[in-house]
């Protein structure tokens, strides 16, 4: 493989599910092979992050062992999963554990996985050897003995992410304990331990108006800690102010120069730089960007089922109706109105013509449940990030064309932005 092939291969295998079609060519490559099933083991959290989207948490809500067992029985039962998550349609499964802070309930997570293995073995279930565990944590409980024991047991099939917001100043401004103290110091120790002992590579960073000017310093800091995969995005919410797109563009240019000067592209990944964004989309491609229209399943602490945790009351800010689609005793309710609503949503139905035929449509993302929360209608696309996406596209044009030149690659990142957009961002 030459350099650019290696860079492209690194892009293709950021997540376990991305590589599955190539590991298992006997399945139809057009199909999504894995189902993402989330257990909300607790709504409790030991931090009080200022920007947390889980704004209606019940800090006392914890999944009981009985509920957890019944949930495992339900997901392994083809009848109960109906057409929504049957194992013959999805031969692979990602078991995700969410909170609140999931590590508060690490013993329960261990219990769920023990029972999952026990039942899958008993049923000779295909998911027995085809599953991955996914946990995103705030890292503050990392050194607890039961957490360490769990990590050692499952480390070979565990995909971990510890949330860290760049440097200490940025992190401690938002990710605080109930007493107001920042959590950076312990999280940094956790990240270093996880890199050394548990193959931790990635973290997720979210940028909004306040931390936007720190992108070009925050991301290099994360690389200096030893992380190599940075999944970063800007928020979908209506928070962007005049000039934020220009700040974003300038920060990305500084970051691009740092990546190029230090040859980070050889081993590192920053999702903000993506070769496939900023291109027009085929009008026949109506694939939904967000998986929250039926590709995922979330099980709440009380055993009720949802298409994603963002449709649960604890994530909804505007007192919208929860999109409950079943529960662990009945399974998925196939006659449920929400399933019908979500299954009829695609890129075309929710987009205006301007969005649908946008010349830089690829890579522009959205969250279905945010649409529900914001507009009371999941089939109504929010466009608050439009100008931020355009800034990202222009920065990608700069980054990729400079990279091709540096690597002597005969390729071009085509720019489809209007002259007006380019002038606005460059000024």
């Amino acid at each position: 493989m030459n350099n650019i092939q290696l860079i492209r291969e690194q892009f293709k295998r950021r997540q376990w599910q991305d590589i599955l079609p190539r590991l298992y060519p006997e399945y139809n490559h057009e199909d999504i092979l894995s189902k993402n099933i989330t257990f909300v083991v607790t709504e409790n959290c030991n931090l009080r992050c200022t920007y947390c989207y889980e704004c209606n948490k019940d800090y006392h809500a914890v999944m009981s062992k009985e509920t957890a067992k019944a949930a495992v029985d339900a997901i392994l039962d083809k009848e109960k999963m109906a057409n929504y998550a049957p194992y013959d349609k999805y031969p692979f499964v990602i078991l995700e554990f969410m909170g609140g802070e999931p590590l508060i309930e690490i013993d329960l997570i261990d219990y769920i996985l023990s029972y999952f293995n026990y039942r899958a073995l008993e049923l000779n279930h295909p998911w027995l050897r085809h599953y991955m565990i996914n946990i995103t944590t705030n890292g503050t409980l990392w050194f607890e003995s039961n957490v360490q024991k769990f990590l050692k047991k499952y480390k070979n099939i565990l995909s971990l992410s510890i949330t860290i917001d760049g440097n200490k100043q940025l992190h401690d401004a938002c990710r605080i304990f109930p007493n107001g103290h920042g959590s950076y110091d312990i999280v940094e120790r956790a990240v270093k331990d996880a890199i050394a002992n548990y193959n931790l590579r990635s973290t997720k960073v979210t940028f909004a108006h306040d931390n936007l000017p720190y992108i070009s310093s925050a991301i290099p800091h994360l690389f200096n800690l030893g992380l190599t995969d940075i999944n970063a995005n800007v928020v979908y919410e209506n928070v962007w102010q005049d000039g934020d797109d220009i700040i974003f563009y300038n920060e990305l240019i500084k970051l691009a120069d740092w990546v190029l000067d230090n040859e980070i592209y050889n081993t590192g990944f920053i999702s903000l730089f993506d070769e496939t964004i900023g291109q027009p989309k085929d009008p026949n491609d109506v694939t939904n960007w967000c998986g929250g229209n039926g590709q995922m399943l979330a099980i709440g602490t009380d055993g009720r089922m949802f298409p994603c945790i963002r449709y649960m009351k604890y994530s909804l800010q505007n007192e919208r109706e929860e999109y409950e689609i079943g529960d662990i005793s009945r399974g998925i309710d196939t006659t449920n109105k929400y399933i019908e609503i979500l299954q009829n949503i695609d890129r075309r139905t929710q987009s205006t013509d301007e969005c649908f035929y946008c010349p830089v449509a690829s890579g522009c993302s959205w969250c279905q449940a945010f649409h529900l929360d914001e507009f009371g209608d999941a089939n109504h696309r929010a466009t608050y990030i439009c100008k931020m996406h355009k800034a990202r596209v222009l920065a990608n044009h700069y980054y990729w064309n400079k990279l091709y030149k540096k690597l002597n690659i005969d390729d071009t990142f085509q720019l489809h932005l209007s002259e007006g957009d380019i002038k606005h961002l460059c000024n």
């Binding site: 590991l23 298992y24 099939i157």
Partner: protein
């Protein structure tokens, strides 16, 4: 570091056997240590059979690649699944 690349089909096949072995290794750890759930003798035997099969599949794939590319076990630092290459110890 010297790299010895393999074909993408070979790389993916090795990765597939490796992934399946990791899942079954975790299962063995689960049920040969203290666990809240204990499989019956028949299931326990079945689990061991799956593990041996997965172990054999991985090692057959590994040995096949060593032989094909003329490598010695002691020469190899690791197989890099991203670059689909053996990393060779100098």
């Amino acid at each position: 570091m010297q790299l010895v690349p393999v074909s993408s089909e070979e790389g993916y096949y090795l990765e597939r056997t490796w992934d399946e072995l990791q899942a079954l290794k975790t299962l063995i750890i689960e049920f040969t240590c203290e666990s809240d759930f204990v499989p019956n003798a028949e299931r326990y035997e079945q689990m061991m059979t799956y593990y041996v099969e997965a172990y054999a599949a991985y090692h057959i794939a590994w040995q096949y690649l060593l032989n094909k590319y003329g490598l010695q076990e002691s020469d190899i630092k690791q197989f890099n699944f991203t670059s689909q290459s053996f990393e060779i110890i100098k």
